[in-house]
């Protein structure tokens, strides 16, 4: 039994043609707080993300942007406020958490591939153990995803035998194998050599075109300008400014945004 690409990943390019304001909210955050001891990592953040929207989150280090996206799939717990993901409120209910986690894929800065499993094993583990997919189906799915990220020939290799860019592309394929509605990217290119950044960004760009809802913490401003629907500037735990790339790059309203963009551009 073969599985086509359309079946294996949430592909909904049509949604890109619907204006943002006409789409429903897939992520809603209201007055969200998070403290590490006395340090307020996320300070009263309210924002929502539309279905199929690509939001780039940027800002200085320690500004809480990673913590914020890690709260979307509960790798960090929010301590105050409300987070609703695709209609499911994030509470301490385990069933809700499992439902949300299998709907939200995540890609990490350090790839976090499983070193004891082959590339194929990495991608098929969760579909087999969580979705109870038959082996043959899971492998077909994995192969089609590997083709999509451009490295089907690496299927039998182990993570340590791959370059950083290849590892990150496997990590993206692994997350996609759970057929998530939302993909979170936590600085996906920060640990990569410069020549490998492009291959990962290309995959992300292609993913955005398929209508995937994406939250990307990244410093790749070229990527943001080209792909993002909106950009969110974080500083000291606060959402400082939220706007289209055009607004952010050409008419930032906040001084902190201007200052930060001047420093990195």
């Amino acid at each position: 039994m073969t599985t086509s690409l359309e079946e294996t990943t949430v592909t909904n390019p049509d949604i890109r043609n619907i204006p943002l304001e006409d789409r429903d909210d897939i992520i809603v955050c209201e007055n969200v707080f998070k403290w590490f001891g006395n340090f307020c990592a996320v300070n009263d953040v309210t924002m929502s993300v539309k279905r199929g929207e690509v939001v780039v989150i940027f800002g200085p280090s320690g500004s809480g942007k990673s913590t914020f996206i890690r709260m979307i799939n509960r790798l960090e717990e929010h301590q105050q406020g409300k987070i609703v993901v695709d209609g499911i409120e994030m509470t301490n209910d385990l069933r809700n958490l499992d439902a949300i986690r299998s709907e939200v894929g995540m890609v990490f800065q350090q790839f976090n591939l499983f070193p004891h499993l082959s590339v194929l094993g990495n991608i098929t583990l969760a579909p087999q153990r969580v979705r109870h997919l038959p082996k043959a189906e899971a492998e077909d799915l994995a192969m089609s995803l590997l083709e999509r990220v451009g490295i089907p020939e690496q299927a039998e290799k182990y993570p340590a035998e791959l370059s950083g860019g290849q590892q990150q592309r496997v990590a993206i394929a692994r997350a996609l194998a759970m057929q998530p509605e939302i993909m979170l990217f936590d600085e996906p290119t920060s640990a990569l050599d410069p020549e490998m950044i492009k291959e990962v960004l290309d995959v992300m760009r292609e993913l955005a075109d398929t209508g995937m809802t994406m939250l990307c913490v990244t410093h790749e401003m070229g990527f943001a300008r080209e792909v993002a629907d909106r950009m969110a500037m974080f500083d000291e735990g606060q959402l400082v400014e939220l706007g289209t790339p055009d607004q952010i790059f050409n008419n930032p309203t906040e001084d902190r945004t201007k200052l930060f963009l001047n420093q990195i551009l």
Binding site: Q110, N112, A126, K157, A175
Partner: protein, 392 residues
């Protein structure tokens, strides 16, 4: 002349290849000289001072008592047989100790990492107490506790079947009857069937994605077959220790762990499990936190994350130091001499009063070496099986 001292235009004393070879040859000569000097010296001393040496004594009657043995032993048996009895006693302590210490160590090590504050503190206190008190002191402690227990007549009784008193620990034991071998064969067949079912169902689970409960099914088949066998063949005579009539109230039947052995086992297990707990904790913590996060973000629950992601990686870190703890436990069992358990060291030390000491000590060393190498071999085989590409 020129070409020998300057091969390839490089003077010999600056030639890396020549220097490396020269160092190898010089060190080999030095080592051979020292070792052969030592052997010649020992041989001369043995001859000159008429120190008894040789292995002809092994066939003679040992004429020493051995307090307890795995196989039947009489003082009229030969030295070689007595040595074997002592070695089996050591192996018994080592194998039982290794198995128990591993189970206990894993439980305590995992408890140490528990989010339950109380559990993790208890594990911490256990670890820090028992690995920081010398083993010999602990052995004496347990042994003295057992000596201070009430005597056989007044000792503790649990469920009318287990007796704990100053002569040791008595427990029910099964001895084989006529139907034992048919039952054993049936049970082995059941075990094979269980393994077969486990493999089949695991494979089915992976191929079809349907939950097939391979572990449950495997255990169920094995236990069912064993119990049916018990009912058909009545192969075992389970003997519960019973009090004899008479003034001393002696216990008869069942199995007895002597006070010495019981104290030795507790001491070795408690001491070694504290180290194993630390190894297990370190092994789990050595797996990058990102691995747990990746597993969780893929929707794997805690159990699945541990089973498929964390443990396979942690085991690679745990196994080598774990094996080294097995070796330590085996070697530490030689402290049994201090509490009167007839282990290899204790028995051979008694033998040296008559038999040649050098020969016996040599045999003891070779025996411990063989046991240690066996554990190492098992560990290395495991490491080779679980090695994966690109890492170590």
């Amino acid at each position: 002349m020129q070409s020998i001292l300057y091969p390839g235009g490089i003077p010999l004393w600056r030639n890396v290849v020549f220097i490396q070879w020269a160092i190898q040859i010089v060190s080999a000569v030095v080592v051979i000289a020292i070792v052969s000097g030592f052997i010649v010296n020992v041989a001369n001393e043995i001859q000159d001072r008429e120190i008894p040496f040789g292995f002809s004594f092994l066939d003679e009657a040992a004429q020493i008592p051995i307090g307890e043995s795995v196989i039947q032993y009489e003082p009229s048996n030969s030295y070689l047989y007595g040595f074997t009895v002592a070695a089996l006693n050591t192996i018994k302590a080592s194998v039982l100790g290794v198995i128990t210490a591993t189970i206990l160590g894993i439980i305590i090590g995992v408890s140490r990492l528990s989010r339950n504050w109380l559990l993790s503190r208890i594990a911490l206190v256990y670890i820090e107490t028992f690995r920081n008190i010398p083993l010999l002191i602990q052995l004496l402690f347990w042994f003295l506790i057992i000596l201070e227990l009430p005597n056989v007549r007044e000792g503790y009784v649990f469920f009318d079947a287990f007796y704990l008193n100053n002569s040791g620990f008595y427990l029910p034991w099964a001895s084989p009857l006529g139907g034992f071998w048919p039952w054993a064969i049936l049970s082995i067949a059941g075990l094979i069937a269980a393994i077969f079912a486990f493999n089949f169902l695991s494979k089915r689970e992976i191929e079809t994605g349907q939950p097939s409960y391979p572990i449950v099914a495997g255990f169920a088949i094995f236990i069912l077959v064993t119990i049916i066998g018990l009912l058909i063949f009545s192969p075992l005579d389970i003997v519960v220790p019973e009090r004899q009539e008479g003034p001393f109230g002696r216990l008869q039947g069942g199995a007895r762990l002597t006070g010495s052995f019981f104290a030795l086992l507790i001491g070795l297990v408690v001491y070694t499990s504290a180290f194993i707990a630390e190894i297990v904790r370190a092994g789990i913590q050595a797996v990058n936190r990102g691995q747990t996060e990746a597993a969780r973000s893929l929707g794997l629950n805690t159990n699945a994350g541990l089973r498929y992601v964390i443990f396979p990686q942690a085991l690679r870190v745990i196994i080598p130091p774990l094996i080294s703890q097995y070796l330590n436990l085996t070697k530490n069992s030689s402290l049994a001499a201090a509490i009167g358990y007839p282990d290899l060291v204790s028995v051979t030390t008694t033998m040296t009063q008559i038999a040649p000491a050098i020969s016996l000590i040599g045999m003891v060393m070779v025996t411990y070496l063989a046991m240690s190498l066996f554990y190492s071999l098992v560990g290395n085989i495991y490491n080779r099986i679980t090695r994966y590409a690109g890492v170590g």
